[in-house]
């Protein structure tokens, strides 16, 4: 069952890209930044904040759409990051392609990249809180200088715009160049670009009260192999924190990867369980 859901996620991510391409071809208002469904306009919360800050007014007509996005984030958690984000999909696709076409070179680049990254990160251990500080400065800058600065460099926006321009006018844009920025910023952060991405941070903050679809370890069966922690793309350590709704993007990889099938999905998890590791059960 879980294997099917993980497969479904792969198809779903590709389908979102196809959906945007098809919408651009048939001239329907569907992008990664904003979607119009009848009278309801779903909109990127960061875009909304930027537009409101830069103009110094709240765009009231957007409030229903923004509220819907907030409710979705609370109900489904950070699903945007693992299920729709085109930047992540592009990154994974690039990695897969390089591994397939040039296996030796790709491996070399990966190793040297990891080394440089570790060297940087030993000196400055930057994490989510630093991302929040950067976001705060960014918002202050947007409010003072009155233009939505992040929108220009947002990798999701750049990919979305390029997909649309490709379908509409059959050309790609030079702003693809800015896609190097997340890679450069990813050098300094513990979890790579994920710590600094404003969209992901906003989704994480909105998803804080989320209590649905929580992966939980059954410690009677767990072998403490640590595979779920190592493979997690979002830095969730299931053994330490019982429910990390800020980080967990519901990709369900941990459920698939567990050898013993010790992780199961709880549809609703309101109680804060304390894991045996924290309580000292596995101290040795």
């Amino acid at each position: 069952m879980i294997k099917h859901i993980v497969k479904l996620r792969q198809y779903w991510r590709i389908m979102t890209v196809v959906a945007v391409l098809a919408a651009a071809w048939w001239k329907l208002p569907v992008t990664f930044c904003a979607v119009r469904l009848g009278i309801l306009q779903l909109i990127c919360p960061i875009g909304f904040i930027e537009s409101s800050l830069a103009t110094g007014t709240v765009v009231y007509r957007l409030l229903p759409g923004v509220l819907t996005v907030v409710v979705l984030a609370i109900a489904l958690g950070r699903m945007f990051c693992s299920w729709t984000c085109p930047a992540r999909l592009a990154g994974h696709a690039a990695e897969y392609l390089s591994r397939r076409t040039l296996p030796g070179v790709a491996e070399k680049i990966k190793v040297s990249w990891r080394n440089t990254r570790q060297r940087f990160q030993k000196k400055l251990k930057l994490s989510w809180s630093d991302g929040l500080a950067l976001l705060g400065g960014l918002f202050a800058g947007i409010a003072i200088f009155e233009f939505p600065a992040y929108s220009i460099f947002c990798p999701v926006g750049i990919l979305s715009r390029n997909l649309i321009e490709l379908t509409a006018h059959f050309h790609l844009r030079w702003d693809m160049f800015f896609l190097l920025l997340p890679i450069a910023i990813g050098l300094f952060f513990n979890l790579g670009w994920k710590c600094a991405c404003p969209i992901g941070l906003m989704q994480g903050i909105l998803a804080k009260p989320n209590r649905t679809l929580v992966p939980v370890i059954n410690f009677d069966e767990c072998e403490l192999c640590g595979k779920c922690m190592q493979n997690c793309n979002f830095g969730v350590s299931l053994h330490k924190t019982a429910r990390d709704s800020f980080s967990c993007a519901k990709c369900f990889k941990c459920l698939r990867d567990c050898n013993r099938g010790a992780i199961h999905l709880k549809p609703l998890a309101f109680k804060k369980e304390i894991s045996p590791i924290e309580s000292g059960k596995f101290d040795n």
Partner: protein, 224 residues
């Protein structure tokens, strides 16, 4: 219960042991916020201004730059594909904002009452509430008479009567193609069409269809 107590006590221990950490952290976060702020400021100061032909219903240039969130919905829904996003230029603040590019098409609002871009704009940077079709004036066109061959394609394509005129040696200039005597509009005739800048709305249809590429779409001079 026991486990909970262990957990909380260990946390408080950590906090009391190193009191300097929070202050250092505060300083670091302050520096980071300053860095992000400085980057936005740098983009602001490096950015050069520019004037563009925006889709109909656009706010004044400055308000448009701050309100548009670069979602590219206007490019997506434009039926004539006339809207293009600005690419990398030194006008950094306006990167990825929509402009009308006659190389791809002209705005058909004055022909078909379209305004689909303004209708689907989420932020209201393209505003529907500006008035009737004639009130939307997005640019102006000029024609280079030396290259013109009097093909009259611009007369066929123009949605606004009286925006393109043909000189009449005997009186008021012609506004329609069928009124012009054939002897006046020969290829080598010295008389060429010209633009009435008061009535021309700048849709760019004539520019898009001009076979000689001797017409140009220009932004209006905005006062703000």
């Amino acid at each position: 219960m026991k486990s909970k107590r262990v957990l909380t006590s260990s946390k408080t221990n950590q906090e009391t042991k190193v009191p300097g950490i929070s202050r250092r952290r505060f300083l670091r976060h302050g520096l980071q916020a300053g860095l992000a702020f400085g980057l936005v400021g740098t983009i602001h100061s490096l950015s050069r201004g520019g004037e563009y032909v925006r889709p109909p219903g656009a706010l004044p240039p400055k308000a448009f730059t701050s309100k548009c969130m670069r979602c590219s919905i206007c490019v997506e829904v434009c039926p004539s594909r006339a809207v293009r996003l600005l690419d990398l230029t030194w006008d950094l603040k306006n990167i990825s904002t929509p402009v009308i590019d006659p190389a791809f098409g002209g705005c058909i609002h004055w022909k078909e009452n379209c305004l689909r871009c303004a209708d689907s704009c989420p932020t209201g940077a393209l505003d529907l509430a500006a008035g009737t079709a004639a009130d939307y004036k997005i640019g102006r066109v000029w024609l280079k008479p030396e290259a013109c061959v009097n093909c009259m394609v611009c007369f066929e394509r123009c949605p606004v009567e009286g925006a393109i005129l043909f000189p009449n040696p005997d009186g008021a200039p012609f506004t329609r193609d069928i009124d012009i005597p054939t002897r006046l509009k020969l290829v080598n005739s010295p008389l060429k069409p010209y633009i009435n800048t008061n009535t021309c709305v700048g849709c760019g249809l004539c520019v898009h269809y001009c076979p000689q590429n001797c017409m140009y779409l220009e932004p209006l001079d905005h006062l703000t």
